[in-house]
Amino acid sequence: MNVLQLFDVTKRIGPREIVRQLNMSVRAGEVYGFLGPNGAGKTTTIRMIVGLIRPTRGAIQVCGHDVERDPVSAKRHLGAIVENPEMYGYLTGRQNLLHYARLAGLDRIEERIERVAKRVGLQDRIDDKVKRYSLGMRQRLGVAQALIADPKLLVLDEPTNGLDPAGIREFRELVRALASEGLAVFVSSHLLSEVEQMCDRVAVLQQGRVIAEASVAELRAGAGSLRLRVSRWDEATAWLRARGFEVDGSDARLVVHHLDDARVAKLLRDLVGAGFDVYEAARTGGLEQSFLALTGAESGGDTP
């Protein structure tokens, strides 16, 4: 069963349709990337999933419960961070978690708090006031509050913003571990590298529309290029062009475009079969180029 499902979801604010006819589904144990440049509508979509705003049209289900009609059942299975995880700075980390645990109607709260604090590595600072936390610690506490009720669906809105590279790596490992325990994770990002490294499937959002949805493996294979160093490069170029490959190259290094896994394999076999020597072959671009090609835009931020 799908843990999260969006049916034709449209949100209009004023005269503008911020997101249009989204159809997505996320399965248990899957990390689903929601990739799009800034302003594409990722946060707006996430606000609808967690019940902060209502879709203008369409419906959203979490574990089969409609978020609008049966919000309490739907949210029982949900943990989320929307934009920055703002917490009560005048309370300690523990009091914050206690606050959220109470609202989820949980029992044995103390035990749970210890467990999630340990899981995100905050156990030593859990009794400090949150206003004294660093940004990284706040993000961790954000994850802790999302996990406190053992959700089936974790919704994370650009969760690595503001983390240092070590923090990002740690976070990625945590997300993968959670998914392997059967959680469905819906994570938005404007960073391709992040999605590529963290997710199983990805939807690419541009100006409120999903313009592509695929597994990361498919996308990676989809539109990459191949760099080649071969003997008799000018002859090889002509030979490849004659067979319909798109080739750039004015010296011994050739670049062949728009290749998926199958085409790469065939190209190398045929090239060798035709008597050319292949000294070097490297895949480049991959998802990055697909993303740029698909959105036709800058990815909107620096890869950390």
């Binding site: 967690v50 902060l52 705003i53 989320a80 929307v82 917490m87 005048y90 609202l103 009720a149």
Partner: protein, 355 residues
Amino acid sequence: MTLWRVVQNEWMKLVRRRRLAVVVALALCLVGMFALGEHHEKQIYSRVPTQAASADWKANAKADLAAAEAQLSLLERRSPTSAGAAQALAALQQRVQEDRYRLAHDVGPISPNLLNGWAETSQFVGAATKTFIPLLVVILVGDMVAGEMTQGTIKLLVVRPVRRRTLLLGKWLVSVASSAALSFLLCFAFLGVALAIDGPQGAMQPEWLNVHVRFFTQPGALQPTPVAMYDHAAVWPMWHAFLLQSALVAGAMMAVASIAFTCSVLFPSAMVSTSAAMGSIIIGFVVAAMARGQSWVRMLFTTHLSLYGDLAGGTAFTVGSPVSLAQGVAVLLVWTVVLLAAAFLRFGRQDILNA
């Protein structure tokens, strides 16, 4: 129960916010000012020459009662038609009621060089409930929802498996409970200060409740003359009346808290919502003062912030038209219910976009 858990949370947040510290500090200032004032007044009173507490006050009271009753029996058949006649009648009625109360409860008058701490407190509380205490309440709860909108914490709150109306109800309950508690504590802090400075005498002195104010139009006068009438008045010991007054202050402050709470739902910025709540109270007073004598002034919630004044007659004098406690309670209730309904409607369906 979910509501109870929401209430526990909201209480935890309320007592740890800096706003509570601000309110407590301001409240302590207020108590300090009252103490200074009392101390000063006591100095003045102590210069009045002492009179030997007259042991034969009972004889005097009996004689006065007989005289007043005799005069009253001459007047009572006719309902007064002029302010002068009404004042004469009221004075006689009050004398009779006081003498009867003193004789029945064996309560002599207190020496004129002593202050009555109970009466002092009652007077001060009556003024504070129309000015300072509402401002403290607004500071305390004027951002219950707006604060979370401004901070962005509303997002992680609404994401929980709790209905929005339950969240709001819990927040409202904590707002009114904390405002009532604040008012009670303040009233008793004033009382404690007054009794410590002035001494405990006066607890049994008479206090008139259920005083109706009648307005007499005099030829040539611009405004009708108010006269406090004692036909249906009840005489209570002051300590008893003070308890009632504290309860009424707490009740009125719950209404103020509800109004401030609604502002915090309607205005998403903590600053704007607190200012709007304060502004509505101040505007209420200004309008009431400008429109004194108009009967619709009785419909303003600011008119009834001193519910005890509705009962003891003070409110009618300031408003310029007759009021009763039942009216005051009804007006505050209607405002509270209508505004809360707006708050619940708004919060229940609002898109939370900018938090």
